[in-house]
């Protein structure tokens, strides 16, 4: 059973009006359990839309989305996935621990069980001493780690992330990438990760999905051959540079059609 199965999906916003946008056209994608899949492409190519379709925050215009063998709607009701965005989206009026407890509250867990799990998650993201602080007392990177802890609190098998490190500085970002890989290894979580950074996509993923805009579609799937145990040394490996070159070339394909739009992709 695949973690995610997207079959013949298209998404058209404002259909039949002058503002019609063909955000996605005929998208097919399968993500296997244990995969780390990145979606990369210039802005406006439908990465976020595809992620929201998987999350059932949007309904496809045509086609079907299956998560853990169920309809994406059922998977959402069962909280089969956790989600994280570019903005950490923590609630300022809740302590760090209470933020992590929120999805569990909505699942109807009792207080002690929630608290125990929140502390366990704080250990996982290496911020155990921050339970009683408020989010605004934390740095951007710490907030994002709390957001990841919250997304994983209910132990979902699938994690959906939309440019979660996009607002962080480069050093914090690389640290967070390493941490995310460690966390996913420890929790055996499948990840679908939206980014517009080529090195980030290659470093994290075993598969990179290259997309192009107007209409949004998948143009290439690139397997990254870096093995499972990646470290900072991975960033100097030949296979890492090969991966980067492969993704860059695939994106250049989108460049030929759409001269301006590839600027949305960072080459760092």
């Amino acid at each position: 059973m695949s973690a995610v199965h997207v079959a013949g999906v298209s998404k058209i916003f404002n259909q039949g009006t002058p503002k019609q946008v063909d955000a996605l056209v005929d998208v097919n994608l399968t993500v296997e359990a244990g995969d780390f899949v990145s979606l990369i492409g210039p802005s406006g190519c439908g990465k976020s839309t595809l992620l929201r379709l998987i999350a059932n925050l949007l309904e496809p215009t045509t086609g079907s989305v299956t998560v853990n063998g169920k309809s994406s709607a059922q998977a959402r009701l069962d909280q089969d996935y956790g989600m994280a965005f570019q903005q950490a989206g923590l609630f300022d009026w809740r302590t760090v621990a209470k933020n992590i407890e929120l999805p569990l509250e909505l699942k109807g867990w009792d207080k002690e069980k929630r608290r125990a799990r929140a502390l366990e998650m704080l250990e996982l993201v290496k911020l155990p001493e921050f339970a009683e602080l408020y989010p605004w007392q934390l740095s951007g990177g710490m907030q994002q780690r709390i957001a990841i802890a919250r997304a994983l609190a209910a132990h979902p098998q699938l994690l959906l992330m939309d440019e979660p490190f996009g607002a962080l500085d480069e050093m914090t970002r690389e640290y967070m990438q390493g941490e995310l890989l460690r966390i996913c290894r420890e929790t055996k979580t499948t990840v679908v990760f939206v980014t517009h950074s080529i090195p980030e996509a290659v470093y994290l993923s075993n598969r990179v999905v290259v997309m192009s805009p107007r209409p949004g579609r998948i143009t290439k799937l690139i397997d990254v051959d870096l093995g499972r145990d990646r470290s900072e040394d991975t960033r100097n490996a030949d296979a890492f540079f090969h991966g980067i070159t492969a993704v860059r070339e695939a994106l250049r394909g989108t460049h030929a059609d759409h001269a301006n739009e590839v600027r949305g992709v960072e080459d760092r």
């Binding site: 999350a55 909280q79 989600m83 965005f85 609630f91 300022d92 009026w93 909505l106």
Partner: protein, 267 residues
């Protein structure tokens, strides 16, 4: 609430205090120096003297005006909060009512009290309380409705990803988000309720409140006494403001940030 006199707090308290005292001293010396007659301008010392002599009467009329303001503040807040929930539930209603509420807020609707006085017995406090209620109602309605609807998109998407119902989103996102907006509204509404209560007294009805006493003392050329009532009015307004700020401090969790109107967070 601790009022520690840290150097920073001192720096923010001392200059206005010094300025205020200097102003009073200038006033006092102007009255004495130019030998201004009391019916023209009374000296601060004289006003304070009158205040002390009439403190019982001033207290009684403060209770009347303050009572009206308080009743209107409470009723207006309750109704405003209730209506803001209705508006946030039915957006189209919000689009109809909010511009109207803002427009009504901009005009001095308390002149309506003149009309209301004709509808009730001349000694009734109801028209005044109604006016205060109306003013407070719109202030609370506009602000709290904003707090209930202007929530972060990410927060709503997260809640939906947890399969949260609309009611759970209301309880766990919209209501907490609206709390600072309610306090902002109260900080505006508390002084406004006192002002409305005073001004309503100028449009007839029984002559027992601070506003009426100020007019009647001026009419009788008892200028210093009128000023003493003005002082009472200032103290009453200040009292209401302090209550609204204290309320915010009590309900705010220890260490939690205050969301300012711009949505920025300050500590």
């Amino acid at each position: 609430m601790t009022v520690a006199l840290s150097p920073r707090r001192l720096r923010s308290v001392v200059p206005p205090l010094v300025f205020g005292l200097a102003f009073l001293a200038l006033w006092e010396s102007a009255v004495r120096g130019f030998d201004l007659k009391p019916y023209f301008l009374a000296a601060p010392t004289k006003i304070v003297g009158e205040f002390a002599d009439n403190v019982g009467l001033i207290w009684d009329s403060s209770m009347v005006s303050g009572g009206n303001a308080f009743v209107g503040l409470v009723v207006g807040t309750v109704l405003g909060v209730a209506m803001s929930f209705v508006l946030s539930r039915y957006r189209f209603l919000g689009e109809l009512v909010t511009p109207l509420a803002i427009a009504l807020n901009a005009i001095p609707i308390f002149v309506l009290v003149a009309v209301l006085n004709n509808m009730y017995s001349i000694t009734s406090e109801i028209p005044r309380r109604f006016m205060v209620t109306l003013v407070v109602y719109f202030i609370v309605l506009v602000n709290v409705a904003k707090g209930l609807t202007q929530v972060k998109g990410t927060h709503v998407e997260l809640m939906r990803s947890y399969a949260a119902s609309d009611f759970e989103i209301l309880r766990k996102v919209r209501v907490p988000n609206a709390k600072p907006y309610l306090f902002t509204a109260l900080k505006i509404a508390a002084p406004a309720s006192v002002i409305t209560a005073f001004v309503s007294e100028y449009f007839g009805g029984s002559q027992n409140g601070l506003g009426s006493r100020i007019t009647s003392n001026i009419a009788n050329s008892r200028n210093a006494t009128a000023w003493a009532y003005v002082l009472g009015a200032c103290l009453l307004g200040l009292g209401f403001y302090i209550i609204s700020v204290a309320l915010e401090n009590v309900t705010r969790k220890e260490g939690a940030p205050i969301a300012t109107k711009q949505g920025k967070i300050k500590k």
